[in-house]
């Protein structure tokens, strides 16, 4: 196994993939979904519509709601579904997959190259927007600096960014494999979506099978899920991080194996 050749191949594939998609129309939806909350909070910061400034803990609560409902469930999840399922399914639809398959590169290395391109791009986009929206929200309250430097502010922020990156990693792997296996990955995206979004109503053993449970265990504030939710104690953070990374690596490895058996028979639909 000639490692520096493999490294060079992975770097090349990642660079090519990012060059192809970063300005592609397809990613416009991703940029919109990522930067919408930032725009919103910036607007709020400008027009100061509120008469009374809520307390720091209120701000944390507001951000927790915003993060867990809109950011994590909708924009990160849908963006990963769109980007990663198109990594391979897009190439099959556009009939360009053969360009990669004709190169002397291990199939697993192609999968890793494409995956890393997707993860770095998504992690960068959502990492920065999470950072920005977090800071913008707290900048409304005068005691922001004390909250961040003495209080738990910094560790909250770190947790949120970590969760976003891990979400991209795990969901990225899942949707890349879905893109390889299913002719219409949107159906798979919908099923996984429902499973992950309503994880809290599942019994304990099933909850441990969802990615969301481990991401949730890393979040500082758990928001009330309503009457049906089954509250179970979170797994300890280190284990959660390892499990999510394990999921990501597992799916990428599977994608490599599937790619090895993929044949080029572009069907004329």
């Amino acid at each position: 196994m000639n490692w520096n050749l493999v490294i060079r191949q992975i770097r090349t594939i990642s660079k090519v993939e990012i060059a192809r998609y970063v300005l592609a129309r397809r990613w416009l939806g991703v940029y919109l979904a990522a930067f919408a909350p930032v725009g919103l909070l910036a607007l709020d910061r400008l027009i100061q519509s509120r008469r009374t400034i809520p307390s720091i803990s209120d701000f944390s609560q507001i951000y927790a709601v915003l993060f867990q409902t809109f950011v994590l469930r909708l924009s990160v999840f849908l963006s990963c579904a769109l980007v990663f399922s198109q990594l391979f399914r897009g190439e099959m639809l556009e009939k360009t997959l053969h360009f990669y398959l004709l190169t002397p590169v291990r199939r697993e290395v192609i999968a890793v190259g494409k995956y890393l391109a997707g993860v770095t791009a998504m992690a960068l986009i959502f990492g920065t927007t999470t950072l920005l929206s977090n800071l913008l929200l707290y900048s409304n309250s005068p005691s922001m600096s004390s909250f961040f430097f003495e209080g738990p502010g910094m560790s909250y922020l770190g947790a949120y960014v970590l969760v976003v990156v891990l979400a991209c990693a795990a969901y990225g792997g899942i949707f890349m494999l879905a893109g390889l296996l299913f002719r219409n990955p949107i159906v798979a995206a919908f099923l996984v979506g429902v499973w992950e979004a309503f994880y809290f109503i599942l019994p304990e053993t099933l909850q441990k099978l969802t990615v969301m449970h481990y991401l949730q265990s890393l979040l500082p504030l758990v928001i009330d899920r309503g009457p049906f939710s089954v509250i179970i104690d979170p797994t300890n953070p280190i284990l959660s991080v390892l499990v999510v990374i394990g999921i990501a690596v597992g799916f990428v490895f599977l994608s490599g194996k599937v790619l090895r058996r993929t044949q080029i028979a572009y069907s004329a639909d």
Partner: protein, 318 residues
């Protein structure tokens, strides 16, 4: 001494079908270096054969090996193979240069060497000034040239080309034919599929003719032609008195048929023994002072062989 296996492209009783659509059936080939032309009507299985040869498809039955390497381990297999496919599409957002350069990087070249060799091969296909623009804006001919560059960039030992001249202008066609001839002479395998019979005539050392998923003929053109006794050689004669020649020609029993052309200035003769016929013809011309416009064998070329074996001038037999 390397066994013959390591120098050939071998198909060992290969069959391939997609669901109930038959791709190719019971193909047995062992191709020597040089230019091999793949001919046959649309849907005869040419592209399937090429996709099998380049590992994009796995055979349902039988095995394929190129220079002794099986397509199942891509890291070694694709070092020696270059495939210029018929697929029209290109990745959006990339320029011609970026594609060639990244392909060479995947082959393990350093960035500088990849860049130098990229411009070299781009220049060879005449795309130097357009290479910086995005491929999405290229015309059909320019896309074909970039596909050729991608197949040639890493100096492969085996070149598989699916209708490589499709969309190229006449000058580019000649340059490409010269290029392929040079490769073949340097001991490379060049496998070309084409519909343009007179080009196949000029280029190929040997022909593989397919119809309905089966290999119906394989070998050099003249060889294939002579093996088919049941089709006598046709000779076309343009002159002022075809009737006179026709009258004298039947003294040879090897002459099977003589048809006078509707314009009264042409005669088509079918004979099993062309050598003796030419002697007779030359004697008749001298004896009766017939003024000749042209004498030419009507079907020494691939096209005629194609007509007999594949035949059909309607909408193709497949």
């Amino acid at each position: 001494m390397a066994s013959s296996e390591d120098r050939q492209i071998v198909f060992d009783n290969v069959s391939k079908s997609y669901g109930e659509v038959l791709g190719v059936n019971h193909v047995n080939l062992s191709l020597e270096p040089g230019i091999t032309s793949l001919v046959g009507p649309n849907g005869a299985g040419k592209t399937t054969l090429m996709n099998l040869m380049t590992g994009l498809l796995r055979p349902s039955k039988g095995t394929v090996s190129v220079l002794g390497v099986s397509p199942s381990d891509p890291e070694v297999f694709y070092r020696n193979i270059g495939y210029c496919s018929q697929f029209e599409a290109f990745p959006r957002g990339l320029s011609g240069y970026q594609m060639v350069h990244s392909t060479l990087m995947l082959h393990g070249l350093s960035p500088q060497k990849a860049e130098e060799r990229s411009w070299n091969v781009i220049e060879r296909v005449g795309m130097t000034e357009a290479a910086r623009r995005r491929v999405a804006g290229y015309s059909k001919g320019m896309r074909q040239r970039i596909r050729l560059a991608l197949a040639l960039a890493h100096d492969p030992k085996v070149l598989v080309l699916d209708e490589p001249l499709n969309g190229l202008d006449p000058m580019a066609r000649n340059e490409a034919i010269e290029l392929f001839r040079k490769f073949a002479e340097s001991g490379m395998h060049v496998v070309i599929s084409s519909h343009i019979m007179h080009e196949v005539d000029i280029i190929s050392d040997r022909v593989v003719m397919m119809s309905g998923g089966y290999v119906v003929a394989e070998g050099d053109i003249q060889g294939v032609r002579h093996e088919m006794e049941e089709h006598p050689i046709q000779i076309l004669i343009r002159c002022d008195r075809p009737g006179l020649i026709a009258a004298n020609v039947f003294e040879q029993d090897s002459v099977v048929e003589a048809r006078i052309h509707s314009d009264g200035l042409g005669l088509l003769v079918s004979t099993r023994d062309p050598d003796r016929f030419y002697d007779l013809l030359n004697r008749i011309i001298l004896q009766h002072r017939i003024s000749i416009e042209a004498v030419s064998p009507a079907d020494e070329n691939v096209h005629a062989v194609y007509q007999y074996l594949v035949g059909g001038n309607g909408m193709g037999t497949s």
